[in-house]
């Protein structure tokens, strides 16, 4: 009887190597080389273009606004779901995953109708909520809300209650306990959820095109501008913008990895 010390090593190495190279690294290399071989001055021209600058700033700003919205509501939802048992909690808990499961085009479609002038919610509002910047932040918040809740929830569940009891026994008020005992332990998970929300929001495309109205200089996000440039066969411009977007994504990804390495990995969630 022959025993392989490393069962399946050759086969799994082969498939992994082939898959990673063909499906992930090769497309990335195509983008990188295209960027390197762009005509000199292309990047400078693209970055100094006011339309590009507006779109990039708007993308970053609205993703930041959405991540902040999720910071507040996501933290509240996670806290209530873990700490305050109420009837129907499991159903509400399952609802959190809805934006993950719902295709982004469907989310955009229903948000544009719901918050539109004739929609159930849009009718009640005194200001227009779609086809403007509010609509974009709304859609980005909707699609990225689960990241915040799901990165906080497992950490909250495993938080030992004894520390809070000890703080209370030592005379701390509830508010002081929350601020000085609970919050510091939650901070890494909050930061990681914030970063994940932001990363998702900054690259989001499908839901935004339905609610933004797609007006240049007003509600145009960076991914949409890439599509516009491609439709005009401006490949260099599209590549330059894509490289900025990729840079932002990689920075956020590196930040999340550092957080996990520093504070231990929370349950990963896609």
């Amino acid at each position: 009887m022959t025993f392989t010390r490393r069962p399946g090593f050759a086969l799994s190495t082969g498939i992994t190597l082939l898959g990673t190279s063909l499906m992930i690294l090769l497309p990335l290399a195509a983008l990188a080389l295209k960027a390197l071989h762009a005509r000199p001055g292309t990047f400078a021209a693209v970055f100094s273009n006011p339309r590009v600058q507006t779109a990039c700033l708007f993308s970053l700003g609205s993703a930041l606004a959405a991540a902040l919205f999720n910071l507040v509501w996501g933290t509240l939802i996670a806290w209530v779901l873990v700490r305050y048992p109420f009837p129907g909690r499991r159903l509400v808990d399952a609802l959190v995953d809805l934006p993950f499961a719902l295709p982004t085009a469907v989310a955009g479609l229903t948000l544009s109708s719901l918050y539109g002038p004739k929609g159930w919610i849009g009718q009640l509002l005194s200001f227009p909520a779609v086809y403007n910047r509010t609509g974009v932040v709304l859609a980005l918040s909707f699609v990225s809300l689960p990241f915040m809740v799901r990165s906080l929830q497992p950490v909250l569940e495993e938080l030992p209650r004894e520390m809070e009891e000890a703080a209370a026994c030592l005379g701390a008020s509830r508010w002081a306990t929350l601020r000085r005992v609970v919050l510091p332990q939650l901070l890494p998970a909050i930061l990681s959820g914030f970063a994940l929300s932001f990363a998702r929001a900054v690259g989001e495309y499908g839901s935004v095109v339905f609610v933004s109205g797609n007006l240049p200089f007003k509600t145009e996000i960076a991914p949409l501008l890439i599509v516009v440039k491609l439709e005009q066969y401006d490949y260099d411009g599209a590549v330059a913008l894509a490289v900025i977007m990729l840079g932002i994504s990689l920075l956020v990804l590196a930040g999340i990895h550092l957080l996990h390495r520093r504070f231990g990995e929370a349950r990963r969630y896609v």
Partner: protein, 282 residues
């Protein structure tokens, strides 16, 4: 958590605060998450059943459904085979550059779908690396079905691997070694020992992968070329009908994807529950 019902002062928030925070959360979730879902079904049926059924039987809608199913099939297959191999390699063997490999698996999640689509245009488009070669062989990838399949597969590629990797790491090799000592062949060991231990994780990854593949929009939109009845997936078909103000048709197709989303949520909870039960009984 029943011990939280009657908390001592200072260990939990006062009752009025707990009740009002719970109420605020439930109302927020109902308005912000549930209402959009209800709105899809309400709007789809607001023009009557006849319009609803006709929109789904439209030949372009039917072609879009078929293409979505086709690309989902390939995406799941590729992600599944790659996921099993990658989880096995990275979870069981120490290889050089281990951390870097795991980080590479995160890339498709971090990259904006539009950028992902663009990468395939640069690779296989007419001006791309393989463009001239593909053209000589009369093969079209971009603005055709293969491009849509590739873009979908890229976005969902690491789903299964990321679900399986922690499971393989936790599994250990003792039971496999026992099986081998008892005379099982490597293939038998894989089918009878390893795969059953990974089946719920594999299923969970496949559900995530399929639901994302069915709904992928940005990457597919860039490589599709939007040819009616040819290169439109269901989400792209929804956008096209929406842009033509056929809201009834757009919402009718959206109900299909929403139902799929609800089924995938239910399946995910079921698989997570079975996996937990298996773990507890083991």
């Amino acid at each position: 958590m029943s011990d939280l019902r009657f908390p001592a002062d200072g260990v939990a928030e006062p009752r009025w605060l707990r009740l009002s925070l719970t109420a605020v959360t439930v109302v927020f979730m109902a308005v912000f998450l549930l209402l959009p879902l209800v709105n899809i079904f309400h709007s789809a049926l607001s023009e009557g059943w006849r319009v609803f059924l006709a929109s789904l039987q439209d030949p372009n809608a039917a072609a879009a459904i078929r293409l979505s199913l086709l690309s989902t099939f390939w995406a799941v297959l590729l992600s599944g085979v790659f996921g099993l191999a990658a989880a096995w390699l990275l979870g069981r063997h120490r290889i050089p550059g281990h951390g870097l490999w795991v980080a590479v698996l995160d890339l498709p999640f971090a990259i904006s779908p539009v950028v992902a689509g663009l990468m395939f245009v640069l690779l296989c488009g007419l001006d791309g690396w393989f463009g001239p070669w593909l053209d000589r062989h009369n093969t079209q990838i971009i603005f055709a079905k293969p491009g849509i399949i590739l873009a979908t597969a890229f976005v969902t590629f690491p789903f299964v691997a990321r679900e399986l990797l922690p499971l393989v790491q936790a599994l250990g090799s003792e039971s496999e070694e026992a099986a081998r000592l008892l005379g099982a062949s490597p293939l038998q060991t894989f089918w009878r020992v390893t795969l059953p231990a990974l089946k719920w994780g594999l299923l969970y990854g496949v559900i995530l992968c399929a639901s994302r593949a069915m709904g992928e929009f940005g990457a597919v939109s860039v490589v599709s070329g939007h040819i009616r009845g040819e290169t439109m997936t269901l989400p792209l078909h929804i956008e096209a009908t929406y842009n033509e103000y056929q809201f009834g048709a757009a919402f009718a197709c959206a109900t299909l994807l929403s139902l799929m989303a609800l089924v995938s949520l239910a399946l995910k909870s079921f698989v997570a529950w079975r996996a937990r039960r298996d773990r507890e009984s083991a």
